[in-house]
Amino acid sequence: MTNRRVLRGLFLIAIALFFGIQALAYPLGSFSRAGPGLFPLLISSILGLIGVFMLVRSRFEQADPMMFNYRNISIVLASLIGFALIAEHLKMIPAIVYLVFVATLAGSSFSLVRNLKICAVLIAIAFALRQFLGLQLPLL
């Protein structure tokens, strides 16, 4: 079982280490003439302390199980990244179609007709945004 309280502490420590170790590589300077590494090092040490404290505290508290659903977050991320890739290498209209069709896989129901309708509406909105608001969307 994964305990949310333990993971929370570990997660914060990981972030603190990630920034803290890199900060050590930058010139630290002195307090009167702080270098670029000093402030991030200070902040990440405090964050690390908080993380350690949470980890210690979690030993005295009841475990709090964490649920993590990989499916939906993966589908949504795949739709976003694919959208950016397709829009970059092709154009935005196929990207919109891709986004709609992949994202709706995560929904509770999947319907081809409805997806086509959403695509049509979104493409119309995209054209309107470009026309009336001057957004530089690479549509065609």
Binding site: I50, L99, L133, L135
Partner: protein
């Protein structure tokens, strides 16, 4: 009479046909998007930011403010009619939804609308009298004092939004660290860019906000598979005279509390609602009914909500320091437009400042005249199934990210923060303090370094200066109280479990 003169000057700017149009569009679009499930004011504002890019400076700020109020109101409507709470409208769910169950939806929506109007009007008077004088106070603040003030802000926001000081503070610090990514202003050194050239300018706030509040929220909704049943009841808006009379005193009380709580660091609409609701429960004439669908329970909190939404602009405008996450976003939007809010803004851009203040009141009027009567039509957005809605929200997240720099690469960053935001949701960490930390981080570092430079490396400067000394001691007191509460709670739990064993 200076205030009146300034306000008249502001209205001159706010009442041009163009600005009226922007204000109205902002209110309407904000309400509409704010109604959608899972989109609180933060996500709504971020998603709608691109709408303001092509608009001239003063118009875009006015529209942005309109979006903010609209989103607040839309939130409370979805809370009243369908009990869909966002962080910003938890209190509206209590009595508002009870009134819906009694078939008095129209009355509740009308009450919320008119109370918001009263709250907003009171807050504008407070804003226009207080902001200029506070701006003068802000000029007394040195770097050490600014550091201490930001520290107070972090502590308050952490405590208010999460209820757990440590969780919130940790998130604020994560935000500060994220704000460090990019080029160091003092030395020009690249920090934490991992060799990626597009990180040299830092991460965009929009990417973080859309990732943590837009995408993470969508996935959370998808996970829970909750289907909202659309509201189908009748809406009868116009109240009877006795009903109307019950609104006024509660709304006035709510406005006073909201105006005050909106001013404090970490304050803002959420805490103001709770404050006003508690007061109604204690002092209102019909206090026995509060909680079971009383007009007072809706009026007080709606007025406080709106009042605090406006007075929370005061610290931003006079000190240049946002007091909560929504204001942090506003600050980012201002900066994106090339305006630096702060003590100098009123002097340099009086038209912007007073135009914005005046447009707040204009926005108030639009909310009452436009939104309240038309709300029944807008509730039809809930007829759209969520399965059709969320791909569109995703698309708008993409467009919003893209149009900041016309860069598709930013969408990858948004995706990364979508994942991070989802982790936060699952780890039960609140992302609002992170946004504040991210915005304040660079300012905190600069003031910290400057303060130490001036004091030749001595930390005593944070304690010996009267302003920062007071603020720091407040923080210390707060921590002491929290530690005490923690240990007392621990002892109680142990005592309770001991008894259970015996």
């Amino acid at each position: 009479m200076d205030v009146l003169h300034n306000l008249a000057f502001g209205f001159e700017h706010a009442l041009t046909l163009q600005n009226l149009l922007y204000c109205a569009t902002g209110c309407v679009v904000g309400t509409l998007v704010g109604l959608l499930p899972g989109l609180g004011p933060l996500a709504t504002i971020t998603m709608l930011l691109p709408l303001t890019y092509a608009i001239p400076l003063s118009g875009s700020l006015i529209m942005l403010a309109g979006i903010y109020y609209g989103a607040q109101y839309g939130d409370s409507v979805s809370a009243i009619t369908m009990k869909i709470p966002h962080a910003s409208s938890i209190v509206a769910c209590i009595d508002g939804y009870q009134m819906t169950l009694k078939g008095k939806t129209g009355l509740a929506i009308f009450t919320a609308g008119i109370s918001s109007f009263i709250g907003g009007s009171v807050a504008i008077v407070v804003l226009s009298t207080l902001a200029p004088s506070l701006g003068e106070v802000a000029l007394l603040f040195g770097p050490a004092d600014y550091c201490a003030l930001m520290l107070v802000g972090f502590v308050c926001v952490s405590f208010v939004t999460t209820g757990s000081l440590l969780n919130g503070l940790a998130m604020a610090l994560v935000g500060v660290l994220l704000g460090q990514i990019g080029t160091d202003v003092n030395s020009g050194a690249l920090r934490f860019t991992m060799g990626l050239p597009f990180l040299a300018d830092g991460i965009g706030l929009i990417s973080i906000a859309l990732g943590c509040f837009g995408i993470a929220e969508i996935v959370r909704n998808l996970d829970s598979r909750s289907q909202f049943s659309p509201f189908t009841g009748k809406i009868h808006l116009i109240p009877t005279w006795p009903e109307f009379k019950r609104i006024i005193p509660s709304a006035l009380r709510g406005s006073a509390i909201g105006s005050f709580l909106g001013l404090l660091p970490g304050g803002g609409p959420t805490i103001a609602q709770f404050g006003a609701y508690a007061i109604e429960k204690r002092f209102s004439k019909h206090k026995n009914e509060v909680g079971s669908g009383a007009i007072e329970g809706v009026a007080g909190q709606a007025a406080a909500d709106e009042a605090a939404a406006r007075t929370s602009f005061i610290p931003l405008m006079s000190f240049g320091i946002p007091e909560n996450a929504v204001m942090a976003l506003m600050l980012a939007a201002f900066i994106l437009k090339g305006v630096q809010p702060g003590p100098n803004m009123m002097g340099q851009h009086p038209d912007l400042f007073w135009g914005l203040v005046a447009s707040m009141w204009v926005g108030n009027c639009f909310l009452v005249v436009l939104n309240v009567p038309m709300v029944r039509y807008w509730l039809s957005v809930f007829r759209i199934p969520y399965a059709a809605l969320f791909p569109s929200i995703l698309f708008f997240c993409c467009v919003g990210t893209f149009s900041v720099n016309n860069s598709l690469e930013d969408i990858y960053i948004t995706a990364v923060f979508g994942l991070t935001g989802y982790l936060f949701v699952r780890l039960d960490l609140e992302a609002a303090p992170l946004i504040l930390g991210f915005i304040l981080g660079p300012m905190l570092e600069e003031n910290f370094r400057r303060a130490l430079l001036l004091s030749r490396g001595s930390f005593a400067t944070f304690v010996t200066r009267p302003i920062s000394g007071t603020l720091v001691s407040l923080v210390v007191l707060f921590f002491a109280w929290q530690t005490y509460a923690f240990f007392r709670q621990g002892r109680n739990v142990r005592a309770a479990s001991g008894q259970a064993v015996v």
